[in-house]
């Protein structure tokens, strides 16, 4: 995975300069994290129109909090924590975790798919995945995405989310369970919907 899933590497010297307020370094840090932040926000909150605002919030928080980045994790892991907190605040403000906008609208794929048929199939899979994600609570969704999409260890997820390890394990477990159940349900609904006209005919 790269690009939208992994941030570009940036030197620790550049990070230190950005932390001290060097504009060029700050710009370079944001450039390196831009796609990663955008991709993560889409996965955490869905493709609603709020993502642009949230991205702006995350970037500002990254810069103002950078003096406290101690290099104990990679910069992108630290930025992921900010994304999770911003997404959490977003859901708290909206008092809901349901994504209203059609989930996969506007999304593209990192590896180009070879045919329109494949593209349609991939889009349907993505749509189903995002709909299944909507059934998770925001903390479950964050923990699930960090673990199964970004491949973080449970300790890393706990650290990113600022939660106890036991709580994180619970969230991941119930996130996985809810996700697989929802996916099963959505797929069966799809089959039923396709079958209906035939039965009527």
């Amino acid at each position: 995975m790269k690009g939208w899933s992994r941030a570009t590497q940036i030197s620790s010297q550049m990070i230190a300069q950005a932390a001290e307020g060097d504009r060029n370094a700050q710009q370079a840090v944001l450039e390196s994290q831009y796609d990663f932040v955008r991709g993560m926000l889409y996965r955490l909150v869905g493709s609603s129109g709020d993502v642009d605002d949230l991205q702006q919030t995350v970037m500002l928080k990254v810069l103002t909090s950078l003096p406290r980045f101690r290099g104990e994790s990679t910069l992108s892991t630290w930025v992921a924590g900010i994304c999770v907190n911003v997404a959490k605040d977003h859901f708290r403000r909206r008092k809901t975790h349901a994504v209203v906008v059609p989930a996969s609208e506007g999304l593209e794929f990192e590896a180009p798919v070879s045919s329109p048929h494949q593209q349609a199939a991939s889009r349907q899979e993505l749509d189903e995945a995002l709909r299944a994600l909507e059934t998770l609570t925001p903390p479950q969704r964050s923990a699930f995405v960090l673990r199964t999409v970004y491949g973080h260890s449970i300790e890393e997820v706990a650290s990113i989310m600022g939660s106890a390890k036991s709580t994180t394990k619970m969230r991941i477990y119930y996130g996985k369970k809810a996700f697989t159940q929802a996916l099963h349900r959505i797929a069966n609904q799809g089959v039923a919907a396709c079958a209906m006209p035939l039965e009527e005919a």
């Binding site: 609570t137 709580t167 996985k176």
Partner: protein, 419 residues
């Protein structure tokens, strides 16, 4: 779907991401070989996760991207440093008392971005350089009081602030001055501000704004932020989304009281507080500062497995005179952590509940109850964990861990079958 399918299906996402341990992966593989329905399910999960991993947001024009980045950089140059990352929410590990004190008096000037210092008494450093009269404070510079004594500085409008030893703050200026108190205690005396200008003090937990008054702000990681107004009026709120509350002369407010069920009583008139309690409050920061290294040392011993030695240090600390309830609660929690270090989980659960019972009203009591619920979940069974989480919510409906306790109860209630 057989009972074993129900057991294996939640493992499919991690199996698909190659994150399962070797043993679990083999068991899933063996099950998939013999179960067609699970193979379908696994394929579906795998495709969905694959789609999620490779999906990317709609493209954005380079100009728009550059504009967004430049806008963030511009705002960051004006903004104060953000509040500290809320790692302290992790219940047990972050109870160490970190008490430092500082007192600040700042002046705001509508046209002057950098406050001018007219007097420095004591040892203050800004970004590592000693401060002296006649200098401007660089916006956002870390100001620290070094040495054993408090230091005072006065700004050229007559406002001044006193910084206690080992205190740390930053000063920024946008639509007014903003003092970011990272640790310590601050007693402010602020000159009346020009129209439209504000003077604010932020701590990791609380915000205070003022027009012209004298007040004290103290922040200790273990007990939160305390604001006391000596004269005039200030407004405070907890967190960046809280409601502003007006405090008048003699009022006091604690950040963690404000999020507890006693929120309505949080603004306490000084007249209602016994004199010895006020004095105790004045002395608490200094005592906590003395004790902080001890708590740290005890935890270090626990981490290195020297439990006996840690317990001896706890007993010694408990023998000190004049400890307040929060400090005693902290020591009791250290005792529980010693139980945990010895893997005595049942005793630790009881210990946390004992801390909650004996020291009700302290921040440690709240944390102890939630820690007991979490520990019970891991080592005492879901039923006890749920029951304790419910007890936590009944006791602290707006508590620091209410959201997590609520989520815990909901998932446990929805899924009676435990992992």
């Amino acid at each position: 779907m057989g009972s074993s399918c129900k057991q294996f299906r939640p493992l499919f996402p991690e199996h698909s991401a190659a994150l399962l341990a070797e043993d679990s992966r083999r068991r899933v593989d063996a099950h998939l070989k013999g179960c067609a329905s699970c193979r379908d399910e696994h394929r579906r999960v795998h495709s969905a996760l694959q789609a999620l991993r490779s999906a990317k947001p709609p493209p954005i024009a380079d100009t728009q991207r550059t504009q967004q980045i430049q806008e963030a950089v511009r705002k960051a140059q004006l903004a104060p440093p953000a509040a500290r990352f809320r790692g302290w929410r992790v219940p047990v590990g972050l109870l160490a008392v970190a008490a430092v004190a500082l007192l600040v008096f700042v002046r705001m000037d509508a046209d002057d971005a950098q406050p001018q210092v007219s007097l420095v008494a004591g040892r203050l450093i800004a970004n590592g350089t000693p401060m002296s009269a006649g200098e401007a404070i660089a916006i956002g510079a870390a100001i620290e009081a070094v040495g054993q004594e408090s230091s005072r500085m006065r700004l050229d409008d007559g406002s001044s602030f006193l910084v206690q030893a080992r205190s740390r703050l930053r000063v920024s200026s946008a639509a007014g001055y903003l003092v970011m108190l990272e640790s310590g205690e601050v007693a402010f005396e602020v000159a009346r501000q020009a129209n439209g200008r504000t003077f604010q003090v932020h701590t990791p937990e609380m915000e205070v704004r003022v027009v012209g008054t004298r007040f004290t702000v103290a922040h200790e990681a273990a007990v939160g932020t305390r604001v006391r107004v000596d004269s005039g009026i200030v407004e405070v709120r907890v967190g960046d989304g809280g409601v502003w509350t007006r405090l008048r002369s003699g009022d006091e407010r604690l950040s963690r009281e404000a999020s507890s069920p006693s929120a309505g009583r949080a603004a306490v008139s000084r007249d209602e507080v016994p004199a010895d309690e006020v004095r105790e409050g004045e002395e608490r920061v200094a005592r906590a500062r003395d004790q902080a290294p001890t708590a740290r040392q005890i935890r270090q011993r626990l981490r290195t497995g020297e439990v006996g030695s840690a317990r001896a240090m706890i007993r010694e600390a408990q023998g000190r005179r004049g400890l307040n309830r929060a400090e005693l609660a902290e020591l009791a929690i250290l005792n529980v952590e010693a139980d945990l270090a010895e893997h005595r989980h049942a005793a630790a659960i009881d210990g946390y509940l004992g801390v909650h019972r004996r020291y009700s009203g302290t921040p440690q009591a709240e944390t102890a109850l939630f820690a007991a619920a979490q520990l019970a979940l891991d080592h005492g069974g879901a039923a006890r964990g749920r029951s304790l989480a419910q007890r936590y919510l009944r006791t602290y409906p707006r508590g620091r861990y209410a959201e997590e306790a609520d989520a815990l109860i909901r998932v446990l209630s929805r899924n009676s079958d435990e992992p």
